[in-house]
């Protein structure tokens, strides 16, 4: 067991900051490269004319999930030290819906607006201003929401394999299948609703 390197003490605070910067550079780079800094391309997902968003996201999830599984099986990575979100389902249902609504209305999500703004997309700046206002509002009304926001078991992480009573490998296998089905179905739908637009 070596990884996570920061948590096993392989590097310290300086390495932590450098690691954060480094993965951030790669994150911003591939979001922009893939077209996810373009609000028209992002929202085209919801009109079924361009499945780039789902292709990029599902590929990333599958690659990272397979990587985590294999590194854990090889004994290189201690999954117990990797942070996994607790299952606070109802706040996630309401909050996730609001983020999605804001995504198609505003054109971005919090992550994608970063590479968009720094490459000159002014609408991403407006969206970001809205984000800061929305979070400020949340912080100010938090006292009234605190009990709802804490709904669910926040003490321990809940994973699909534990919840379904299946092995993690089987869940990852199904995930890969679902991703492949989504890619196949996406291409069919694109062909029908007209793809290849907003390509720059």
């Amino acid at each position: 067991m070596m990884a996570p390197l920061f948590k096993t003490g392989v590097f310290g605070e300086v390495g932590f900051v450098l690691a954060a910067l480094l993965v951030g550079v790669a994150f911003g780079f591939f979001l922009e490269r893939g077209g996810l800094a373009n609000a028209r391309k992002l929202t085209a997902q919801f009109y079924l004319t361009d499945f780039t968003v789902l292709r990029v996201m599902f590929t990333a999830i599958v690659v990272a999930a397979l990587g985590l599984m294999w590194l854990a099986l090889l004994g290189v990575l201690d999954l117990g030290l990797v942070y996994i979100s607790p299952a606070r389902i109802w706040p996630v249902v309401v909050g996730g819906s609001l983020v999605g609504l804001g995504f198609s209305v505003g054109g971005y999500c919090p992550g994608t607006s970063v590479p968009a703004l720094v490459t000159g997309k002014l609408d991403a700046g407006a969206y970001m201003g809205g984000l800061l206002l929305g979070i400020l509002l949340y912080g100010e009304v938090f006292n009234g929401l605190a009990s709802f926001a804490a709904t669910g078991d926040a003490s321990s992480p809940l994973t699909l394999d534990r919840w379904l009573g299946l092995s993690p490998a089987l869940v990852v296998f199904f995930l890969v299948l679902i991703a492949l089905l989504t890619f196949w179905g996406g291409s069919k739908l694109e062909a029908r609703f007209g793809g290849e637009e907003a390509d720059s």
Partner: protein, 180 residues
């Protein structure tokens, strides 16, 4: 005619990378975060910390006593001394490298042909507010919940993903004029 010539003389931006390749790149960045620091990627947390730092500057007493902001302002580390803040700073650099190298960095506003700039910007602010509020309630956004939670097989990540896309389709039907 001359303006058309000038238009053509401008450097054509490159096409976007193959989405599966971009996805592999993104997935490896996510995996690197797990291996290096034991956590995934995020974004909304960085904005929250920026807000907390701003509240602390404007109203320090409020920032140190109010139940939400004090989570960020009364720790050993300053609100901006945080993984997600450094990661977003990295994103600024990464996004610029990719955008400038591809000739896509130019001042513009993405919108459909049937909506004014003013309306587009107002909707962007409104959408941002919904996303910001929602991300804090959910405890994360598309990066922290859908990508990171998705890869760690977190139930909350997959619940987030379904609600996010479901609501996205509803919102897109409501603001069709903005994009199509």
């Amino acid at each position: 005619m001359s303006s058309k010539g000038a238009e053509q003389a401008r450097i054509e931006p490159e096409r976007y990378m193959n989405p599966y390749l971009a996805g592999v790149g993104l997935g490896l960045a996510l995996l690197a975060a797990f291996v290096l620091v034991g956590r995934g990627l995020g974004a909304s947390g960085a904005y929250t910390r920026l807000d907390a730092a701003l509240v602390e500057v404007v109203a320090p007493e409020h920032a140190h006593s109010q139940s939400y902001w004090k989570r960020y302002t009364t720790r050993a580390k300053a609100p901006l001394d945080n993984f997600l803040v450094y990661q977003v700073l990295g994103m600024i650099l990464g996004g610029m490298i990719s955008g400038y190298a591809a000739g896509r960095a130019r001042r513009e506003i993405y919108k459909g042909p049937r909506i004014s700039v003013r309306s587009r910007l107002l909707l962007a602010v409104g959408g941002g507010m919904m996303s910001g509020f929602g991300a804090r309630l959910a405890g994360g956004c598309t990066s922290g919940h859908a990508l990171t939670g998705g890869a760690t097989l977190a139930v909350s990540g997959w619940v987030f993903m379904m609600c996010f896309f479901g609501a996205g389709f509803v919102g897109a039907a409501l603001v069709r004029r903005q994009w199509r």
